[in-house]
Symmetry: C2
Subunit: 422 residues, 2 copies
């Protein structure tokens, strides 16, 4: 891989500044950090016109470049979105600070007192796509947990991101944020991402937020630890003992309430014992809800007009009003299908049989496993975390919605009075 020496030096220097800032961040009290966040929110509002003008510049360039309406929508800072962004910063200030929290204590027979306490991770790199509000949302979660943050946003949002980051930096530094604690990569060169995620002596964690191709690009080069999720292929399994009317309501919610999200339903599994009864009802719902079904052979036979699913459909994240449907022989077959084709995100069983529920909870290898509820609840807010950095389908460090605690690590504080090892 060829390397651009100027880019390399620039990213290395950003890492060095972030690391120095991180060393200072550990000294900030919760009170001071909250003052910093409130000052950031105030500065955002102060610079509202400037930020919205930068956003209009990005939007003009996006339209000229022929970006899709969906992309343009994601890029747009409406008044409501701007206010939500500033409010979001204040909401994070109001959350409890996990840093310093004691999560364990032992007194050893030799008198050593061993405490385990939450501490910041250090330097976190956030790599994201076109939503400019992520610049504020993600960075303040890092700062609240005393981490320094290096951000790299999508090139479409370049001007918006810079205006937002400049406001956050200026507002923060007025209230005592160390210089270098919040940095935005000032180039749209794609190689900057590679430089960032290979800097393992200065970056402690990378969190890519975006579509599967962004995540794969990060994973191709990463030498630093990464928390991520590739996609959400979420399942609902309708057991023979399920309340079928309730099942339709839950399926409708999981598929239709916001189909473009990672916790939306993509594949429905139906117990063979109730297929003849349930599938026609499902077909009527799909018709009225305008959901396109893609079924296994039994589903196709039971629902007039249902298309046949291809092999690829079972692994597909549609993010649209399309649903794969498969008839399976009981909970064991459902679990097997989910563990094989799923994405370890969120999966639900609808049942009134406690044994089947417990088996599903135990054997499905996903971040969130549900009984009799919509998969749409996998979300930091819905889980009561107050804020969310994203969702992890990894198993290491953080799994499922990532809140403030997931942005910390721990250390052991050992206090003695002269102990030596025998």
């Amino acid at each position: 891989m060829e390397q651009n020496p100027d880019l390399h030096r620039m990213i290395q220097e950003m890492g060095e500044r972030a690391q120095q800032a991180a060393r200072k961040m550990v000294k900030l009290t919760s009170k001071r950090k909250n003052e910093i966040l409130l000052s950031m929110a105030a500065e955002l509002e102060l610079r509202r016109d400037e930020i919205l003008a930068a956003n209009r510049k990005d939007l003009e360039l996006a339209k000229a470049a022929g970006l899709s309406p969906a992309m343009v929508d994601r890029l747009t800072l409406t008044d409501r979105r701007f206010e939500a962004m500033a409010e979001g910063v204040r909401a994070v200030a109001a959350l409890p600070d996990p840093v310093g929290k004691r999560i364990g204590k032992t007194v050893r027979p030799n008198g050593l007192v061993i405490e385990k306490r939450r501490v910041p991770i250090g330097v976190i790199a956030i790599i994201y796509e076109s939503r400019p509000n992520v610049t504020a949302d993600a960075s303040v979660l890092c700062l609240k947990t005393s981490n320094a943050v290096i951000m790299r946003g999508g090139k479409e949002a370049f001007h918006s991101n810079h205006a937002i980051a400049a406001a956050l930096q200026s507002g923060g530094e007025k209230a005592g944020l160390p210089a270098g604690a919040l940095q935005l990569v000032a180039t749209t060169d794609r190689d900057a991402v590679r430089e960032l995620v290979q800097m393992d002596d200065r970056v402690d964690l990378a969190i890519p937020r975006g579509g599967e191709s962004l995540i794969r690009a990060v994973m191709q080069y990463a030498r630093v630890p990464v928390l991520k999720h590739y996609k959400g292929v979420c399942h609902i399994y309708v057991d023979s003992s399920a309340d079928q009317a309730q099942a339709i309501k839950i399926i409708d919610n999981a598929k239709c309430q916001r189909p473009g999200t990672c916790n939306a339903l993509e594949t429905l599994l139906v117990d063979a014992q109730i297929a003849n009864e349930f599938l026609p009802a499902l077909g009527r719902w799909a018709k009225s809800a305008k959901v396109e079904l893609r079924g296994c052979s039994k589903t196709v036979a039971a629902i007039p007009g249902c298309a046949a699913a291809t092999a690829a459909d079972w692994e597909k994240e549609y993010l649209a009003l399309v649903l794969s449907v498969k008839v399976v022989n009981g909970v064991g077959a459902a679990i097997k299908h989910i563990n094989r084709y799923g994405s370890h995100h969120s999966d639900s069983i609808l049942t009134s049989d406690k044994r089947n529920a417990n088996r599903f909870l135990k054997e499905v290898d996903s971040a969130a496993v549900y009984v009799n509820a919509s998969t749409r609840f996998t979300d930091g807010g819905e889980f009561g975390m107050g804020a969310e950095m994203g969702i992890s389908t990894d198993k290491i460090h953080a799994r499922g919605p990532m809140g403030l605690e997931e942005l910390t690590t721990y250390k052991y504080l050992v206090t003695g009075n002269g102990q030596i090892r025998q």
Copy 2:
């Protein structure tokens, strides 16, 4: 990177078998897992002669190949080491099982009950060097926590490792261990390590155990998450308020009790305020303890015959009776030195000043930070974990000694009665 298709297929198939075994492992009760471990210990003892004969074969090859006496010693299974290995398996059976443990519970306003429980990670790859007992020690920790394990040992211990793994497999399967749950890579081809740590759809975590060059080889290729430590450059800082007689005893313990370990002392920092008084006493201790000192200019001036440290010495893990010594201006300078040159492993302050102690605990960015104690205590056994998989100087997932809990992840179990998202 050129790829050997046969090797690739072999490792992929091992991964597939491990993943299938892992799915079965989640169904094992604690009682059953302990029976499996006890059956493994019994089988080890049953095959004692066979295993020791395999070890003699490795030792002959090692001597013929001219391996160093230290290498040969690490490779040797003495009677005592063999017994300790079998006893170690029984000791792990006796430990409490972290799997299934509830680590959080919330009832949401909508009635959803959200539980957070410890679950196995899945498939763990262990990559290690010449000590054959690691084959038993490391694999049983993985199995105790319901993980499937793929091991890859050093080529010098090939026959020993195979004999041990065969005994563990056979003993385990007699008591219900799923086939594929414990596998040893059956080739000394170095590329097997690369294949193993790049198999990110089948391996959930890799733990390399060994010297810095092994860890760097793993990190060069790893696409799966890795828990590791490169080295232990541990510090003691003697504050002006320290009990100086006690300080010498702690330094002696941290440097000399077992100098080849990662938690042994490598660099001593001395507060300038007491340098003139403390350094001569240190020089006398070093002479009697046969410790070679490498000092900064002030240390060299104060201790007759002390060699001058080079720039490289401040980052050196000697693993021998050598100690770097530097005079610093107070606790702030000590913290700065440790965070810059240290390895984030274990560092200690000797002081009677509470403020300096607290500052050191807060600002030193290491897995274990001590007040008035030897750094040698950073160890799973000494921390009360019962067993240890190694020590992590990473910040993600596990930091410091890794016991059974660190070999688990968690999932969210969400129980409802028809909840849908509004």
